[in-house]
């Protein structure tokens, strides 16, 4: 008998190599207690959280928590059903209304996770004979959406407008075209030149989908994302987003002005064949989204945090993923996986949690320590974080 698990041997070896004897497991972290959006107890140690995507710190907002508790009491713990059968409650309709208000768009469709939103929308709207043109550094959920569907998949070099345009121009006449882009790319925290890319996509007759998972609530005058910030949101056909970052809970969505959009509720299998979100989750999301519409001060403080951390880490000799701070993600590039894992351990001992990102999830096979800032990180916490990085970096010999 062939052991079907033999194929995982390289992955098992890699996992063992980063875990090692006496080391904490970067992929097996347990938060024993969560004190606030920025602090938790991990392995008995008080730990500053710098890798949670909790950009706007909404997870302990009193109004958000109250909305969730009320919905739990009124609607129970779960829907036990699909959105198109018994799984649509008043709070599900309300969170879709909140999204339409937030984006000033005609339609909003909520999925059980952000992953399923990309999986469902991309695989459903691009069918046999259509072409999907996408950035090579796209998130796994976008790639999996391509794989689930029947369209021809054509990647282009990261953020390369010319490479994208050449591919669009080679697509056979009459074929449907979908260009898939992201506002913020989560590995390096860099943004896309969306205005120019969207203009090229439109000039070549393509529909445009932009994943704004890592920019919602934070980037753009109304927190609608990078496309809004660059004045290009009106030309985006579909915005994909998530509740599991700035919104502070779980769930995914697509908003659109397409007149036939609502038919996707029937056609989209990852929407139909799964249970809807618990009513308490959508109630917290709706409250959070409406509060994010008036969060200008928090946005300003988050930018400040991002700028300070970027500047201070650079000044201490760390190599970062971007020349300038472009989002709330700051990626610290490690020389190799070994020293990256050692640095991660050293930071944990200091009381700081960041994400260890490694190939194949990373571009160009890099090992990254990915930091995501929160609007609730105080200026003092950011300075504490800088000190932790400096000590850990010296002890591991990276700076």
């Amino acid at each position: 008998m062939t052991d079907l698990f033999d194929k995982f041997d390289p992955m098992i070896a890699l996992r063992e190599s980063v875990r090692g004897p006496g080391r904490e497991d970067p992929f097996g972290l347990v938060m024993e207690k969560v004190i606030s959006p920025t602090v938790a107890i991990c392995n008995g140690r008080e730990t500053i959280l710098l890798g949670t995507y909790n950009y706007m710190g909404m997870t302990f907002d009193p109004d958000v928590l109250a909305a969730g508790k009320a919905a739990l009491d009124q609607f129970g713990s779960g829907t036990t059903g699909s959105r198109v059968l018994n799984g649509t409650y008043a709070p599900h309709k309300d969170v879709e209304a909140a999204l339409r208000e937030f984006y000033a768009m005609d339609h909003a469709m909520v999925f059980s996770t952000g992953y399923q939103a990309n999986l469902g929308i991309i695989s459903t709207i691009a069918g046999k004979g259509d072409y999907i043109v996408l950035d090579i550094d796209s998130h796994a959920s976008i790639w999996d959406g391509c794989k689930l569907g029947d369209a021809e998949v054509v990647p282009f070099k990261h953020n390369d407008i010319t490479a994208m345009e050449k591919r669009l121009k080679r697509i056979p006449e009459g074929a449907g075209k979908l260009v898939v882009l992201e506002g913020v790319y989560s590995m390096l925290g860099d943004i896309a030149p969306l205005k120019d890319m969207i203009a090229v996509a439109k000039a070549n007759g393509a529909m445009v989908l932009v994943d704004e998972a890592h920019s919602m609530g934070f980037i753009g005058p109304n927190g609608r994302g990078v496309a809004e910030d660059q004045g290009a949101l009106d030309d985006v056909d579909f915005v994909i987003g998530t509740f599991s970052k700035s919104v502070g809970t779980v769930g995914g969505f697509c908003v659109s002005n397409h007149p036939k959009f609502e038919i996707l509720r029937m056609a989209c299998r990852p929407y139909v064949f799964t249970a809807s979100l618990p009513p308490s989750v959508v109630a917290t999301a709706a409250t959070s989204i409406r509060k994010l519409m008036h969060a200008g001060d928090k946005r300003a403080h988050l930018w400040e945090n991002s700028q300070v951390l970027h500047g201070e880490l650079r000044a201490r000799g760390f190599t970062l993923g971007t020349e300038t701070p472009q989002s709330a993600i700051i990626a610290v590039i490690m020389p190799d996986l070994d020293r990256g894992a050692a640095m991660w351990q050293a930071l944990m001992k200091e009381g700081l949690y960041v994400n260890l990102a490694r190939p194949p999830a990373t571009p160009a096979n890099m090992t990254l320590l990915r930091c995501s800032l929160c609007a609730e990180h105080s200026a003092e916490q950011v300075q504490t974080i800088v000190g932790m990085f400096e000590r850990a970096g010296k002890s591991v010999g990276i700076i």
């Binding site: 021809e152 050449k166 591919r167 080679r170 697509i171 160009a364 096979n365």
Partner: protein, 81 residues
């Protein structure tokens, strides 16, 4: 371009990607013999696409395992000369 001309051009384009100097035959595989990783595949495919002004979608790439199959695919995608 006929097959021989296309094969000559592809041979020229693959040279900078053949870092180990492997002797390339029609049966040579990209993943095995040439040890191309996904980034190398993307850059090499882009070079071929730009040279011949064609698209080789990921769906088509999945069917191309050997050097000979690539030449055949380019010949086909180029259409009748």
């Amino acid at each position: 371009m006929d097959r021989a001309e296309i094969a000559a051009k592809v041979a020229e384009l693959i040279a900078p990607f053949n870092k180990k100097g492997v002797t390339i035959k029609d049966a040579s595989t990209f993943a095995g013999d040439l040890e191309f990783d996904s980034l190398t595949v993307m850059d090499f495919v882009a070079a071929i696409e730009d040279e011949f002004d064609i698209i080789i979608s990921m769906n088509q790439q999945a069917e191309i395992e050997t050097y000979g199959q690539l030449i055949d695919a380019v010949v086909k995608l180029q259409g009748p000369a």
